[in-house]
């Protein structure tokens, strides 16, 4: 315990400890104190340097003020290049317009048309803008440019001066535009859309109503075949257990001969072992044929064709064996 000098117990700590013990009986109480006493106490001035968030009730707003007209100067210098002179440019983020459009088929979402609190606009500009150099504006400039963006949305008239007291009181066009009546806030929330798990002959439309235009992908994405593992096609093909090495160093018949397979196997006729044709017929459709037969030939064994075992075949190299099996699986055509 000497590692944890600051051994304090408090209500929630006890509760947590209890929960942890429930969750993991392997933990002995003495091994895990509820407080490690780590971390340094944060001083007020330390907190103040980072505590920049602003809530709708205005908590967090620093003392300051700025007018629409002062804001225009800031905006023209530091914002207009990206957001457009009137906040109309959609290239980065459109800042003005769209008020009243949210219920339409083409809603225009801007800080003017969507936000329910002007404080959110202040908070965001203060923390994140201007984009290339965030947190560089003084509180005064943030009040001013916030006032200007609000005026671009006709939410405040020219001449308006905003400060820490007036900003939270601004009536935003969409202030009653939000709801929390939905099932997404809790694990047990009620889903709004329900499907059934029908398994057979389900009545569902299979008419295709949307697909990309023919030249869209090539034009916008280039050659997307490059975005797949380039083995992709071959990998998919290799699943098909059919011959694939027609022109390899040694051909199948020759390998069967020099490796002694033909002592027991012929193409058409069963002798000691099954005919290659029968083997092909039996396994060709099996995705694992190549692998399984290769293993079987190496290990030898009986049971798939009768009592007679095949001795382990150690002579062919891995490469030759691969060629042999592929050749056998293609048997009907090389008889």
């Amino acid at each position: 315990m000497s590692n944890f000098p600051n051994f304090k117990l408090h209500g929630s700590g006890l509760a947590l400890l209890f929960l942890m013990l429930l969750a993991d009986p392997a933990l002995a109480a003495s091994d895990r104190p509820p407080s490690l006493g780590l971390g340094s106490p944060a001083s007020r001035s330390q907190i103040a340097r980072w505590d920049i968030d602003v809530r709708p009730d205005g908590i967090g707003l620093p003392v300051g003020h700025g007018s629409v007209e002062e804001g225009q100067l800031v905006y023209d210098e530091k914002c207009a290049a990206c957001h457009g002179t009137f906040g109309e440019s959609g290239d980065y983020a459109q800042l003005a317009g769209g008020v009243g459009s949210l219920h339409s088929a083409q809603p225009v979402r801007t800080v003017g048309s969507v936000l329910s609190h002007a404080t959110t606009l202040w908070d965001y500009i203060n923390r994140a803008m201007p984009f290339p150099n965030s947190k560089s504006l003084t509180p005064h400039e943030v009040y001013a440019v916030t006032a200007y963006v609000l005026s671009l949305n006709d939410i405040v008239p020219p001449g308006t001066v905003l400060n820490e007291r007036s900003l939270p009181g601004i009536a935003m066009p969409n202030q009653s535009g939000f709801t929390t009546h939905h099932g997404f806030m809790a694990i047990r929330g009620e889903p709004d859309v329900k499907n059934s798990a029908c398994m057979k002959n389900c009545t569902t439309s299979t008419t295709i109503i949307s697909r990309l235009p023919a030249d869209f992908t090539a034009k916008n994405y280039g050659n997307i075949s490059q975005e797949f593992r380039s083995l992709n096609r071959d990998t998919l093909r290799a699943e098909t257990p059919i011959p694939s090495m027609p022109t390899t160093p040694e051909s199948g018949p020759k390998l069967a001969l020099i490796n002694g397979c033909t002592a027991c196997h012929q193409t058409e006729q069963k002798i000691v072992g099954p005919s290659f044709k029968d083997i092909a017929q039996k396994y060709r459709q099996s995705p694992d044929a190549l692998k399984n037969l290769t293993q079987k030939i190496r290990a030898g064994g009986a049971g798939n064709w009768g009592e007679t075992p095949m001795p382990p075949q150690t002579k062919p190299s891995a490469l030759d064996l691969d060629i042999l099996v592929r050749w056998i699986l293609a048997s009907p055509s090389h008889s």
């Binding site: 709708p56 994140a128 965030s134 093909r237 257990p241 027609p246 160093p249």
Partner: protein, 454 residues
């Protein structure tokens, strides 16, 4: 059925095997002579349809460039004879041959590359863990590389004692490792009104899954003595230039939220919040604030830009749903998927991913006829709560047109919906939370493409 005459022309030396198992397969590439791959090129011309769409010709080209001409005497590829490289003592990177497997931006989606999205290449991934170097990335003001020695986490607000933690402090706390997915709330958001993107990378690639290691937020909240009576929300704030903020409800914060430094066995990558991030399992990804520098316990939600202007779901009546945290159950087939091409008839493994922000995946069904008939897929263990689950189903493609779909049912019994069912309730303008059943069409030539059904 595929008209055999349209199929691959067989070269004389290849046995003409036809039937339900399709065409001949090609030789492994290391047996091919550079530039001599006539059949492949023919195939590109014939099967690529328009060569631009699939780019089969350039694909063959690409293959040819990297073929190694084997010494004729042995037929062995170079790497079977020449001494290889010394052991690797630098940070290992994937094979040269995997260089196309990368995160990608969707053209035209964002104006800047800093406030942007790089999508994970789901079509190329196996299992459930996303390699850290392929985890999707969404930044709002670019990706910082934060010096861990200078990084601090401040926890304050309704607490007994506000505290500043160094990374060394955080690493001293009892740790947990858990596998969870992170899915952006806007994943598949481009597809609300119609098909908009060609591949699963762009349609579902704001989704990744990692093993995360860190401290339970409850441990840290307890350390500072949060006010258990008045606390309602915890504000999480990033240390990047955007200093993105989100409100986390206290019940969620105390439940399974983690303050994370480890990802897949190593420290977080810069693009995923190095050295410290929040992880809010099952909740839209924006809550898992990266480069976490501040947690403030408050008695009300903070109404940040990221929970009012964005990440709210606009309904047809003009009202936006706010605080839509939970990522509902969703699944997608990652192979075969849009942009792929089936070259042979015969066996294919249909495989994909399923997940739910409400718990574990209970079942995944797969349909190859556009949802008329379904078969239950097999699920690969482990099947974890709020984690990706891999599903698989055997499939034999005979050359008919097919409509592939997957449908997940999660531990709450919720069944993944159709896009038309979602649209009927939410319209097509809500951007977020599109968890519709995805349809991939396989045409008789084997081209797989993204479609939506009526």
């Amino acid at each position: 059925m595929l008209n055999e005459d349209n199929a691959l022309p067989l070269s004389p030396q290849e046995p003409a095997v036809r039937g339900s198992y399709g065409r001949v397969a090609p030789a492994p590439t290391h047996f091919l002579v550079p530039g001599g791959d006539t059949r492949r090129r023919l195939l590109g011309g014939l099967l690529g349809g328009s060569a631009t769409l699939f780019g089969a010709a350039s694909f063959a080209q690409q293959k040819t460039e990297r073929q190694v001409n084997p010494p004729p005497s042995t037929g062995l590829p170079r790497w079977s004879q020449a001494l290889g490289q010394p052991v690797n003592t630098t940070y290992g990177t994937p094979s040269e041959y995997e260089k196309n497997i990368v995160r990608r931006q969707s053209p035209g989606l964002t104006t800047t590359n800093q406030s942007s999205i790089a999508f994970a290449p789901l079509q190329n991934l196996f299992g459930i863990i996303t390699p850290s170097g392929l985890h999707f990335e969404r930044d709002h003001s670019g990706r910082p590389d934060v010096d861990p020695d200078q990084h601090r986490l401040l926890i304050h607000g309704l607490v007994r004692e506000a505290k500043i933690f160094t990374m060394a402090d955080i690493l001293r706390y009892p740790s947990v490792s858990r596998i969870h997915f992170i899915e952006c709330g806007a994943n598949t958001g481009m597809e609300w009104a119609n098909v908009a993107v060609p591949t699963v990378q762009y349609s579902h690639g704001m989704l990744s899954c990692s093993e995360y290691t860190g401290v339970l937020l409850s441990t840290l909240l307890d350390e500072v003595g949060y006010d258990s009576k008045k606390s309602r929300y915890v504000l999480a704030e990033g240390a990047d230039a955007a200093s993105l903020t989100r409100s986390i409800p206290i019940e969620v914060a105390l439940n399974d939220v983690m303050v994370v430094y480890g990802q897949n066995g190593e420290m977080l990558r810069p693009e995923n919040g190095y050295p410290l991030r929040l992880l809010v399992p099952g909740v839209q990804g924006v809550s898992s604030v990266k480069w976490l520098r501040r947690l403030k316990v408050g008695d009300a939600a903070f109404e940040t830009r990221e929970e009012t202007r964005h990440y709210t779901d606009l309904m047809p009546d003009g009202i936006s749903r706010q605080y839509t945290w939970v990522q509902e159950a969703k699944s997608v087939i990652t192979s075969p998927s849009g942009g792929q091409k089936l070259l042979d008839h015969g066996y294919y493994e249909i495989t994909g991913l399923a997940w739910s922000g409400r718990g574990a995946v209970k079942r995944v069904d797969v349909s190859t006829d556009g949802g008329r008939n379904w078969k239950t897929a097999s699920l690969q263990a482990p099947i974890l709560s709020k984690a990706l689950t891999r599903f698989r189903m055997d499939w034999r493609w005979g050359g008919d047109s097919a409509l592939l779909q997957s449908r997940v049912i999660d531990s709450t019994g919720y069944v993944q919906p159709l896009i038309k069912q979602l649209r009927a309730v939410r319209g097509a303008r809500s951007i977020y939370h599109n968890n519709a059943i995805q349809t991939w069409q396989v045409d008789p030539l084997g081209n797989v493409s993204n479609v939506q059904l009526s």
